[in-house]
Symmetry: C2
Subunit: 415 residues, 2 copies
């Protein structure tokens, strides 16, 4: 049978995940990878989790092996409210403000479904988190891409775009601004306190929702912790997304949506048709883990390790790339990523072939755009390579850049 | 903030799950429920699962707690291919023919996304499994509802509808027939071998896909096992859906799609934006369970119990409803459900209030229609009530029917 004519317009629009394809072809021996955005499995609290899993199945099987409510495990929701009180100073929540999802990815997909039609507008950062792009793309909305500065989205550009929409009579089709507030993926950038407040002002002025995606907030290793946009706005028009993937384990597939209860009810309706409920087993395991252990205390050693790796990586970047003119990179205060912007003329996707020969992997920046990409950028993660690999990998990156410049006739300016 | 104007057309179309609302209001002491479509938690292999969960986390944490591939855990896929060979006599599969989903519900949602646009047509049974309705509804397609007979869909009506579409030049917008082949939810009916073959003929003649949803096939307690439509067609234009929810545990949230590899690739693209991957932990637990134990051997005691309960229930229906003219019910050969069709004039949703007073719960049939419902029907599950409750509950059902008839002035004809 020929299936081509049977596919929907939506599915024909979905492109293959480039990261996935790149990483597939890049598994040779001796390769140093800055590609991963995944936690080091050696940081998982394996013994504690195995004991809890065993107990949960033995003693709570009536809940943990059965269907659950679409909203999520009440015990997990209770624990999460407690955590948000303790660590985020958020006190206004009850169980109707929380929904558990199958990872953050499902949260993004649900938000796309709840808010976006083909004639809708939403503003996203440029570059954007790839998973948000693929979740929203299924609704085929109009994007307004806002460039990132070192302290987050350029809000002057956002406002001028909003004014334009207002003039064109389309402002009622503008639904939300999507932002990764802490240690942005891919760019490593954190939205400043000033800009958080300004963003809320704009949201009130132009009546839109803010989606604050914060998978990495707990992974701050230096600098001052900032209040969430959700906290600053007391949750009035902000939807906060959290996940257990970076602080406990991605394999549990648990994301958390924190929002106004009317919004949560709509999201529950949307999720019902998608998967009925997320795994009751992994939810109950997470709930009992949080009850017995302090989630954030547990990850302190991990954060310390990430900081040391970040410092080492920044040092290596200075050493091996510091003398090149017109090259920049982000100094992240937490999370997993830095972002390198090479001089004009570089195309990091094209350069990837040379990188593979040199046995290093990074993620070409063009992956992270919903519109015209900036091709001279790359995402680099410092969490999985060893200290030696961070040094050696950065050295190889310098060689890769030089070889590509030579091949393309780009005049690499040295300071 | 007023959120009303921010919602998408799609989400505004989603109706609340009526079953959920009904069951919420019906939790009084002493109630006998024919409502549930869920397995008895006492049938879960608790000790085996807890041991395996413990071992998987201790020894395989690098996979079981990490992100996994969108296609699903390769170990689980391997085990599932083995199972299909052994129990379904399906030998044509390799790992590219299988995708693991977050329960069967996600499989249905993905299929809706892959095939349906607003101008698409699909044929479904009348009544239809509620979850399929809510998955497909998010795409807002045109439904062709085909009445069920005792041996499955009325294929003459299906063919005449297909001819009509052909005449109107719309046949290329017809995407698939969706059918629950064994022990239909809600109707308890099984598609006969003759009709399975006829359906494949029609699919070839009119060039459509068959979605064969088979969550209950392993729960046959009498009659002859039939080959799946997938097997009969060697998977050429059939997509087979299975789930672990009825044979191991719903809490794991594991569904399985078996299909042509080109279709699987499209489904993987769609799933990526929805949740990246299903829980790697629950997938690996299921894989190791299947490796160590025979999934279908394990559920033999459950099936024996279900058969005894079904027999008891059929006996009670004969005893308490057998003398009423124009009342019918289905004798299922497996699965969880029977379906009762009351005389004309009955409205089981309206009658539900009386049922609640009598302390019994059933699911009003009108829940299971994507178009105009038949209001004199109800779904009754015999798996969760005890033998005494099956007797007593059916007695109360008779009282409920009598009281409703009296109240509405319906002349209940007694044989």
């Amino acid at each position: 049978m020929k299936f081509e004519s049977k596919y929907s317009v939506t599915v024909n629009r979905i492109k293959s995940n480039i990261i996935r394809e790149l990483l597939k072809t890049a598994t040779a021996e001796g390769i140093i990878s800055f590609g991963g955005g995944i936690p080091d499995p050696e940081t998982f609290p394996v013994e504690k989790l195995s004991k809890i899993a065993n107990d949960v199945i033995m003693n709570e099987y009536k809940v943990a092996l059965q269907y659950g409510s679409t909203e999520g495990d009440p015990e997990l929701i209770k624990q999460y409210i407690r955590l948000l009180k303790k660590y985020e100073d958020i006190h206004c929540l009850n169980e109707e403000n929380i929904m558990i999802t199958t990872g953050s990815q499902q949260a993004l997909f649900i938000l796309g479904t709840v808010f976006l039609d083909e004639d809708s507008y939403c503003a996203v950062s440029k570059p954007i988190y790839l998973g948000a792009g693929s979740a929203f793309n299924q609704r085929n909305p109009n994007y307004i891409s806002i460039p990132l500065e070192k302290d987050g989205m350029n809000l002057d550009i956002l406002e001028s775009e909003l004014k334009k929409l207002e003039k064109e009579g389309k402002i009622d089709k503008f639904k939300f601004v999507y932002t990764v507030s802490n240690f942005h993926n891919p760019a490593g950038i954190t939205l400043s306190l000033e800009k958080r407040k300004k963003l809320i002002e704009l949201a009130e002025k132009y009546d839109f929702i803010i989606i604050e995606d914060d998978p990495y907030g707990a992974l701050r290793f230096e600098g001052e912790k900032l209040p969430s946009i959700f906290k600053l706005n007391e949750g009035k028009r902000v939807i906060l997304l959290n996940t257990f993937s970076k602080v406990l384990s991605p394999g549990l597939r648990i994301g958390v949506i924190i929002a106004n209860e009317e919004l949560i009810r709509k999201m529950v309706l949307a999720k019902q048709g998608m998967d009925l409920c997320s795994s009751t087993l992994t939810q109950r395991i997470a709930a009992r883990f949080m009850e017995k252990h302090d989630l954030f205390e547990e990850i302190q050693p991990t954060i310390k390790l990430y900081k040391e790796k970040k410092d080492k990586f920044m040092e290596a970047l200075d050493k091996y790339l510091g003398d090149i003119e017109d090259i920049e990179w982000i100094h992240p205060e937490g999370g997993l990523f830095s972002w390198i912007i090479l001089p004009e003329g570089f195309d990091t996707m094209e350069m990837f072939e040379i990188a593979k020969e040199k046995k290093i992997i990074y993620i070409p920046g063009e992956t992270f755009y919903v519109e015209e990409p900036e091709r001279n950028t790359m995402r680099v993660s410092f969490c999985l390579p060893s200290f030696e690999e961070l040094e050696e990998g950065t050295k190889r990156l310098r060689e890769t850049i030089e070889e590509y410049a030579k091949k393309k006739g780009i005049n690499l300016k040295i300071k």
